[in-house]
Amino acid sequence: MPRITFLEAIQQAQAEELERDPRVFMMGEDIRCNVFGTTTGFVERFGEERIRDTPISENGFIGAAGGAAMVGMRPIVDATLSSFLYPAMDQICSIIAKSRYIYGGQARLPLVIRSCMFYGNSNAAQHSDRPYSMFMNMPGLKIICPSDAADMKGLLKAAVRDDDPVLSFEDGTCWINKAEVPDDPDFMIPIGKGDIKREGTDITVIAIAGGVNVALKAAKQLQGEGISLEVIDPRTLVPLDRDLILRSVRKTGRAICVDPAHKTCSAASEIAATIVEDAFEALRAPVLRVTTPDTHLPFSPHIEKPLYPTVERIVAAARRLVGVAQPA
């Protein structure tokens, strides 16, 4: 299998779906000039009608994706950075999430809204958002946030073919990571199915997006101390693979939720609550969250980097759960 990057996986998924289905088209700000390498060669291959540069008008073109979907198209919107979804909250929450419901099933909105979570690179608070949990609180939106190239490709292709609106949150810390990715044009990862990225016996670590890679590093480090982490990547936040998480926690009896988003009302909080509600009898220790604290993200790298979940914080949380003293 070819080894490709996360960004190349996005490019491949889009190209294959544009090739397969004439109803698929793309729009977004400056997508023709291929800023991040996810639309390489698209204008030449698919034409300017299907690869559309938009005005800087997120509420306008994201809402237009909703309208186009309602009349039978299958738009992929590239919203660039997830921070740019905020101007479009009106259309995402009031139109895209609710039209199917409020009109009693008359509307169908097959569309994908892609955005990158561009954190950890001194872009300051307005460009560093990881806002998926805000949308988890809005019924009617499916949410994918994979952590490796194969899952990215498979989930994005599944999202394009899904008949419901899907938000794709793409973690910038994963962009250049390579993985073996199938080149079968029908390769897909089912939306709503999590994956065990590393099997273990002592503690279940449920990690979101780029947090998965940090958790895997922590697991490797703790292996040397005789602490075995099972790392689960839900891959999809809505619908959430609760069964996979609960099965693992019932096996290990301990859980840490790792989430690069802010702590309050995070995906980590939702997962922790689910574990406490449905697997309380299996727990041998409190459920812990390792998240970004509820402060904004500063520009200066010296004070930005330690705010995200780190290997050190996950290791410390794991030691606490199994009762190993922290090194002085």
Partner: protein
């Protein structure tokens, strides 16, 4: 004879305006009696605006409307039974009882929503027009919005997008002089909403919103232009809302001035009836239409009252294509 002057079409315009008026008159009294839950925003006084615009559309053209949603589907040709059932929250309602008075959207008639977030239909209409264009269809998308919505960014973004991409869209601002309690003069900078068209390099047209023929004529020109690939038009229908922002609120929040009587004196249905009679239409033919509509309204009411409420499962359907399960702790207490 021009399409606007064609006799059957003229009677159809009269019929649809009467249908809206009688449907809403009945709905208002039922709302007062407590039979219709929620808020009820009526279209009375504005019938010529919706009917004139929709008569310029084909059945397969798209339309997006507003929370003042009763007039638009009837203007586009919807039948009354699913609309009245929706007002009563019944499963036979056009939205299966999940939309109610603010969302009477009939997709079978080309509607893509009657959306109750002011201005939010603008991008949807632009997107539907884009979809039609990409599919090589010659359909157009018409967006109704109010004078209040003219201050919303979504409307501007929708118009700008439609203009820059030359999409087959028509933006119809139904200026009924009030955004809830706020007069247009206190909310809209510049004299006319239609003047804003210049900023997008598209035609801006003002029309007497009480004259159904005049509205149809300007919308038809805009539709022809849109179908010909020449892009969108902004039309402002100058009209008037007779009733409160929402009826039966206890008091009318709308600051009425002396012009109120002038507007009521130019009732769109009365004006059109007088024109038809002056043009030689037999008054008995118009009376027969009025009476047939009274029967339709009585029939839709019986249908709605006899219909069942939705099963509880319906609350979990249509969030996604696949129905959600009812959570066990909720199901145990239904």
């Amino acid at each position: 004879m021009s399409p606007i002057g064609d006799n059957d079409r003229r009677l159809e315009k009269y019929r649809r305006m009467q249908r809206i008026r009688q449907f809403e008159t009945k709905a208002e009294s039922m709302h007062a009696a407590g039979e219709i839950p929620g808020a009820l925003h009526t279209y009375a006084g504005m019938e010529a605006s919706g009917v004139g615009a929709c008569m310029a559309l084909r059945d397969d053209d798209y339309m997006v409307g507003t929370h003042r949603s009763h007039g638009h589907p009837i203007a586009k040709g919807s039948t009354l039974r699913p609309l009245m059932a929706e007002l009563l929250g019944k499963v036979t309602g056009v939205c299966k009882g999940k939309g109610g008075s603010m969302h009477l959207s009939d997709f079978s008639m080309g509607s893509l929503g009657e959306t109750s977030i002011v201005g939010s239909g603008g991008p949807v209409a632009a997107g539907a027009a884009l979809g039609a264009k990409l599919q090589g269809l010659d359909r157009v998308a018409l967006c109704f919005f109010g004078d209040g919505a003219s201050s919303e960014g979504a409307i501007h973004e929708g118009m700008n997008l439609a203009a820059v991409w030359k999409l087959p869209a028509i933006f119809v601002c139904e200026n009924n002089r009030f955004g809830m309690s706020t007069p247009t003069s206190a909310a809209v900078a510049g004299e006319h909403v239609a003047d804003r068209a210049h900023g997008y390099g598209i035609p801006g047209v003002i029309v007497d919103g009480q004259d159904v023929d005049a509205v149809e004529e300007v919308v038809r020109e805009a539709v022809d232009r849109a179908r010909a690939g020449k892009g969108p038009t902004l039309i402002e229908t100058k009209t008037y809302r007779y009733r409160d922002h929402a009826v039966n609120m206890g008091r009318d929040l709308t600051p009425r001035g002396p012009e109120h009587d002038d507007w009521v004196a130019r009732d769109p249905i009365d004006l059109y009836r007088a024109r038809l009679l002056a043009d030689g239409v037999d008054s008995e033919d118009l009376d027969a239409i009025d009476s047939a509509i009274a029967d339709e309204v009585a029939d839709c009411l019986t249908f709605a009252r006899d219909s069942a409420y939705p099963a509880f499962e319906e609350a979990f359907d249509h969030v996604f294509v696949d129905r959600l399960p009812i959570p066990a702790d909720v199901a145990a207490h239904v």
